[in-house]
Symmetry: C2
Subunit: 411 residues, 2 copies
């Protein structure tokens, strides 16, 4: 008799973004004339710049001729892209990588979700709270957690590391043994960043405890402070304990194109139950080549264009648009008396809900009174309760209008 993977039945039905969508649709149906401004889901809004469009047209033409047609590419990605990644994203910051340490994929959601698969099911995981839900849900599916505790809004067996205004959104090192630590900097949803000194503490802890750090750097291109590391490998020793996830989705507006990559240094080790050391790079390679057939050639050609001189310039201009939005939000809300975090080195602004409102109460108030959509902090974990995320992705004129509307909120 065919059995279901019962771990999937532990998952909570009310996933954050569908619930937001449901409430927005209901409001729009009841108020057809309302001009809703969406600063909720973190999706880019600017079209792709000319250098990338041009590279894609060329790649499409390559597919039209027998001489340049591309069938199956290497599952790990084309060398032209891997070499550009190593040169521009790593060598430029003093990090050396071999080509077989970089794995091109179709998205960081996939990679951060899939990576746990090559690690034992008995490993204990630690996540920051609030956190990107994919890290948690994929571990629930794998059976690495207990049941969901409705009262605590937490799954059993996961170590949640609270991040709030009291600790400046920097979690304390785990006080109990964990094996897999998910870190995301610049952080989604809080917009916080980690200094070199803070990351060095995590690397040292992971080494001492034979743990592995899964480091999500999907938002690194939004860092404006030159002292903040873009890669965990800027920390000495990180290549022994950390895997890094990068994406073109937010960096270069690729959410609809699908291209990302993961770095798995050959020096990162895991252990068998008998204590034998095993390099995880060849194991991830085996997983990646067996269950994946390479990212689209068109998307890889587009990603390579991000590193051309013109591509770099054009992508930077788009990031500047979003970061100007972030600055407008920060300034406007601060002037209105809100406690505002993030938005300087990240495209997310995290704010304390005013008047003791819960995250969802504030969501309903914003939608109902001023027709602005944001994301309730509690959707990212229990420590997100009382907070709210606004995204800097959006048309500047909409962001300015949203901020004008905030002045009209009634308390």
């Amino acid at each position: 008799m065919i059995q279901v993977n019962e771990n999937f039945l532990k998952l909570q039905a009310g996933y954050l973004f569908p619930e937001i969508g449901r409430r927005v649709r209901a409001f729009a149906a009841a108020n057809p004339n309302a001009k809703i401004i969406r600063l909720g889901i973190g999706d880019v809004t600017e079209p792709l710049p000319p250098a990338i469009i041009q590279a894609m047209h060329k790649a499409v033409d390559d597919m039209a001729s027998g001489e340049t047609f591309k069938g199956y590419g290497p599952e790990q990605g084309y060398d032209f892209l891997i070499n550009a990644i190593i040169e521009n994203d790593y060598k430029s910051r003093g990090v050396s990588l071999d080509t077989d340490e970089v794995f091109v994929s179709d998205g960081s959601k996939c990679d951060t979700g899939n990576f746990q698969e090559i690690l034992g099911v008995a490993n204990r995981i630690a996540v920051t709270d609030p956190v990107y839900p994919v890290y948690v849900d994929t571990n629930v599916m794998a059976g690495r957690t207990g049941e969901y505790d409705q009262a605590k809004s937490q799954y059993g067996k996961i170590v949640y590391m609270p991040c709030n205004a009291d600790n400046n959104f920097v979690p304390a090192l785990p006080s109990e043994p964990v094996d897999i630590i998910y870190l995301c900097y610049p952080n989604n949803p809080t917009g916080a960043v980690a200094t070199k000194a803070e990351l060095a503490k995590w690397v040292a802890w992971a080494k001492a405890n034979k743990a592995i750090i899964l480091f999500d750097a999907a938002y690194e291109s939004f860092i404006s402070d030159p002292a903040i590391p873009h890669s965990i490998y800027e920390i000495d020793g990180a290549k022994d304990v950390a895997v890094e996830f990068r994406s073109y989705s937010k960096t270069a507006g690729f959410t609809g194109l699908r291209c990302a990559f993961t770095v798995v240094p050959k020096t990162v080790k895991a252990y068998t139950s008998s204590g034998k050391e095993v390099a995880i790079n060849p194991i991830w390679s085996r997983r990646h080549t067996t269950k994946f057939n390479g990212a689209s050639y068109i998307s890889q050609a587009a990603a390579a264009a991000v590193y051309s001189p013109q591509g770099k310039k054009e992508v930077r201009q788009i990031i500047d648009i979003y970061m100007n939005n972030a600055a407008v939000i920060r300034k406007s809300l601060s002037a209105l008396g809100y406690s505002v975090y993030g938005g300087v080195n990240a495209p997310y602004i995290w704010l304390k809900t005013p008047g003791g409102l819960t995250s969802w109460q504030f969501f309903d108030k914003l939608l109902g009174e001023i027709n602005v959509v944001g994301t309730p902090g509690s959707g990212f974990g229990p420590s997100g309760e009382g907070y709210f995320r606004l995204s800097a992705f959006g048309k500047p004129e909409n962001v300015i209008e949203a901020m004008e509307r905030f002045k009209k909120l009634k308390f």
Copy 2:
């Protein structure tokens, strides 16, 4: 201490296609003037036709303008593609499907590899022998098998169903209980097809035994016999027990573009350990939306163009090129006295190695004497020993030359 998923350590290192690549590279290095003809890996060789190229240029232009830019799409795929799939691939053959039963993805390798994840680890699997290695390897990774037995060339706990000339490459129904049955028709590697009557037997068996059929129809567009079903849902009752995988890779030359889809009828059920019935459609939906972020918009636009009147015509012309290659191979090798199978409703020709040679001996002989590359049957499983796969993908002039060279093989 971080533990590795030890199931990965059961995997055999010598995966088929890398080993072929190694031998071909070594031969080419030692024989730099040899003109090698590759009929090995099943990768398409014809460039994409005008209707698809045009649709991709338009999709690229959509990404260049704020009005038409596409960010995150629905993880399940755009409605414009899902509707075209239902209308053209299913309704036209008398099969009705709801839009939420079709899941667009970036490849059938991924889908056939990932699907087992939502099913319990204690389920017993059955595969045909020979078989596409991804079905087996992904179950090894998931822990659903025992260790590899070198003497038998088989993993423990898997039920292998031999397919050879004696049973006309149609496996017998399992004589022991199994829960997950992988079937691929038209078959890779044997090129065999299943009649409606044969598939009806499997559907009835699955119903009676509460098993699930994972049906890989990646090669359905190569069917020339009008009596052969293109979809398992042409069989009454299949919607209760079968999931179907489809791909544009071979159908329309998308190996470098990455687009495929999986059909999960809402009537397919699995069970909890306490015997409770659970529909698997919402569980796959949860998996797909949590671990995947949609196929590239450009690739989905290209896939939709496959269904336009012009697209259908152009894609058919390319399939005809490959199937003419298949006919040339069949005819030539039959005339030389080979026992030849497949190649009529599938792009693969499966032949008995002559003179009692093993699959690898014949591989080395072909490469060494006439510089033709094929795929050793034993690489697909123990029952593939003594067989050899030739692919119909290739330039017609190369296929004709390869057949000329076969005349020069010395025995």
